[in-house]
Symmetry: C2
Subunit: 651 residues, 2 copies
Amino acid sequence: MSSDKLHETLLPKRIALPIFASDALSSVAYAPDEIFLTLGMAGGTLALTHSWMIALAVVFVMLVVVASYRQNVHAYPSGGGDYEVATVNLGPRAGLMVASALLVDYVLTVAVSISSGIQNAATALGFIRGHEAAYAVALVVLLTAMNLRGVRESGNAFALPTYAFMLGVIGMGAVGAFRHFRGTLPNAESADFELVAEHGYESLGGLALAFLLLRAFSSGCAALTGVEAISNGVPAFQKPKSKNAATTLLMMGLIAITMLLSMISLARWTGVKFADDEAVQLLREGVPVGDSYVQDPVMGQVAKAVFSDFHAGVVFISIVTGIILILAANTAFNGFPVLGSILARDGFLPRQLHSRGDRLAFSNGILILASAAALLIVIFDADVTRLIQLYIVGVFVSFTLSQIGMVRHWNGLLRLERDPRERARMIRSRVINTIGAAMSGTVLVVVLATKFIHGAGYAIAAMAVIYLIMTAINKHYAMVAKELEVVDATAQLLPARVHAIVLVSKLHKPTLRALAYARATRPQSLEALTVNVDPEETRELQEEWEARAIPVTLKALDSPYREITNPIVNYVKGMRRESPREIVVVYIPEYVVGHWWEQLLHNQSALRLRARLHFTPGVMVASVPWQLRSSEGQEDRLDSGAVPGSVRMGQ
Amino acid sequence: MSSDKLHETLLPKRIALPIFASDALSSVAYAPDEIFLTLGMAGGTLALTHSWMIALAVVFVMLVVVASYRQNVHAYPSGGGDYEVATVNLGPRAGLMVASALLVDYVLTVAVSISSGIQNAATALGFIRGHEAAYAVALVVLLTAMNLRGVRESGNAFALPTYAFMLGVIGMGAVGAFRHFRGTLPNAESADFELVAEHGYESLGGLALAFLLLRAFSSGCAALTGVEAISNGVPAFQKPKSKNAATTLLMMGLIAITMLLSMISLARWTGVKFADDEAVQLLREGVPVGDSYVQDPVMGQVAKAVFSDFHAGVVFISIVTGIILILAANTAFNGFPVLGSILARDGFLPRQLHSRGDRLAFSNGILILASAAALLIVIFDADVTRLIQLYIVGVFVSFTLSQIGMVRHWNGLLRLERDPRERARMIRSRVINTIGAAMSGTVLVVVLATKFIHGAGYAIAAMAVIYLIMTAINKHYAMVAKELEVVDATAQLLPARVHAIVLVSKLHKPTLRALAYARATRPQSLEALTVNVDPEETRELQEEWEARAIPVTLKALDSPYREITNPIVNYVKGMRRESPREIVVVYIPEYVVGHWWEQLLHNQSALRLRARLHFTPGVMVASVPWQLRSSEGQEDRLDSGAVPGSVRMGQ
């Protein structure tokens, strides 16, 4: 498990940064687009006048969030993920809310990152256009396969493309700035278009305008997704862990800000026109460009302008952007199963998701994540803009709750702490987290207010459903635990006698072995049992039984309806009624095949019979396996999650 | 099972007829269409000149086939289905060929009947048009549900619609004839169209023309499908079984012929123009009618003409036709699982398909049939004409082989029979069956020759694949049986000692019960085993173990990779290595839940562990179930094919 791996090998900052930053940094690939197209709804001017303002607001929030999480990192060197922080300080309910938010978010991280990656790739690879959703799903499948096969990237595998992406974007910013001030920076392809307001947004009053600005702001806040990643990974850092983690977090924040700002300025300098509904809103000499026009992402348009005389640059940008977005998606493939396993450990999700080193556990998590993401991609046709509407809510739900939790955390400590210098630091931290909480709380409200009808509502609904399911699951586990609790010693009472029954359908090796094993356990009574489905077969069996002089009496049960389960079950129940204080052991000769297709060829009566017998108290089912040659060497396949070798009544 | 039910209550001829005839009679709903549109490929004249000839040829084949099957009925009063007849007289290979053909045919019966039913229904219910495939699949799903729920029609449920259909069609023939000779029979809506040849068929030479006629003939032979049904059902008849069955068969044949001929004559009198590619081939005042024109089935067009002044008649015809076609499809839902069960009994199909009163058996068959049929309907877009191309091959493969088998049958009897009168009758029968074999063989060749490229090839391929799969399955069962055969008495040797191991994950009631049961079997050695995944948990467990003074030593296995299966399996294998002549019994405390969703909440480590342990010889796994309250009263749900109550390691 990559999570374990991270814990084994401690990371220097230069490796930790790319590992934890890919998600946060990748959002610069789509955040600017969202800002511009939202502003663009009101026509061309608003983007020019206010994109800066929005960008600065986002940057400010980013700084606050980074500052706040630096406190988390210091307070929880053990790696205080938002779920733990909220659970510990605000109780399981809050923790569960955070968890639901994060689960939804992981899914959206995959959906959004992959979709955006595909859109960027399309800038360079035209053939993708028109089939975005298909390619996106294919990519999800690929990632799933990789993660199922346990292909996890080493730190370096992360480092290279992430640094390449930083280099690319910041380098593009530098080149762009240079050419801009030299006056040699050409316009973006969309610069000459006229950008008209979307229908209904033509002439907005002050209030409506403010609302639109807020909406642009909350879309821009997509840039903040993934900032919390480091707070989960503190233990992976080299000593001094907290200090290094905090520094890395700060670096990450600053880099993200630099990249965002350079993207915004480049977009403004090259006069990028980016529209929500390009076919209608963009006019070429007064006529709408129509569906034939394909609108490249801001990143792509800017790259084409900055590297107008250097096509390799454009390709480089589009490739590294694609890769970083895939890495970002991949972080969810690591994070989701880990969180799922933690929630399963705490009894909020099915225990299968709790690893205990059981490989299937993580596989389940990966498959759930992948299918949910693929579903979203198909539903929203890999349209980043529409997916973004659902995205940011979860992030800020967990930001807010985790920050409130931190405030509580400091309050707790301050009650005990006497040393004034310590207190001073704690108070400082508490102030920061309070600001963080207030800030992210406000953003959350803004996001909800501006995006609820545009999709955030679905995200909230999904969280609510997940929350309810998790509480229900938890109730069930509690109920079972209560029921199984040992209250008195009655459970330890020894049964008086043991009756053994060996089920026989044919007289072959598995049957003989079952008989031998049953006799070896020296029960007080032992009999062989067969069901008379076909009188012919039964008589042959009895004759052979005599012929082989088998020292156990063979009893044949009648079966009016030519079926085997009920007669046996009823017979066993009858024995139980006669002597409730005694137990019945039913020996079933079963055998083991090697290949999944062989199982299809063997009827499952043994399995069904066992399932039925399990409902009768005081009955124990002992399966005596016979290994067929085909099963040799197949044992290991089981671990790789393959179907377990079939067990069936020998016949 | 309806098959059983039929055997319980013996049927009078008047009930047996509709039960067995629905399939055969229903084909009159689509056979004429196929004749006309195939002839129509060469333009309007051919249908006028030759449709009679084709019809008479089909009638002739029908008479021969009926005569031949009357011999089967006499020879096999036990109900000699084609599969039995071929197997008994020509050996398993031939039997298997017949079986493959029949399996494919059952699927096609469903696909063709339902599709045709939908097309006819569309005559009255316009809204179906354009969504035929969807409605057809829905209908298949409905039939599947009914058959899964065990809703089988009583004889009367069959009788009513079948007689209504006979009455409808023959009545329509009478009315039509009356109006025709009175000169008051109006033309069909399509009569005024000009029917031009399909591209490539404009001016056919003698040979090509003959070929087209043969093709029309083989399409028309669709009318013969289902004639063999009665030969399977002889035991269901009242005494004298064979005689009554033979009479019923004859009646059925005559009725089918009457209906076919009246449909053909009505179509000719009303001047129905029926085209393969109506949009292009039908001209209204010299211009193709185009896609807007919907071509009703011949049945519908004729009805509209005959009942021009009596709309209720049209509706009646279209309804009874729809119902009879659904009944025809339903016969396949009874026949397919029965044949599957017979083949499973003979070891050619997975044993799950062999009933032994196990309800799941038939459900499996029904589901396989339904999904295959639905797939075909979707692939061929519920287009009867294209499905027909695949249809008739199988029928004639089994006709031919079964008839050849009958000839063999008589040869065998004649070798022994001395009584001249008996011999005379046998020789007569043999002559008839020989003609039948020759005839259906010829038709089979014609069908293959004329339809192979049009789809019959697929049917052949499907049969071949099924044939190969069935032989492979048979080989496998034989191999297993051989491997399990008892050759010497070594299998009876008693193991020297019994080592018992009780697996413990928590100390709760299921664990204590498992311990008690294990102790009750008085093994030579007994120990409790837990896996040290979480040192914390393990220590708690050990302390509680001490506190409760449990008289069994608890051993904790280390698990470097934090997983449970391997340490246990390796430990057990170790014990085995030390003392191969002794057996190990592993007691697993499991518990039983009532609802499927509860299973999802309990990890399956016990199941996986058992599966793994089964691969180690000399190890017996005893599951000690603990019944949770939620499991009470849930036992019966198992029989209804619901998921069996989950068994899992208590924790």
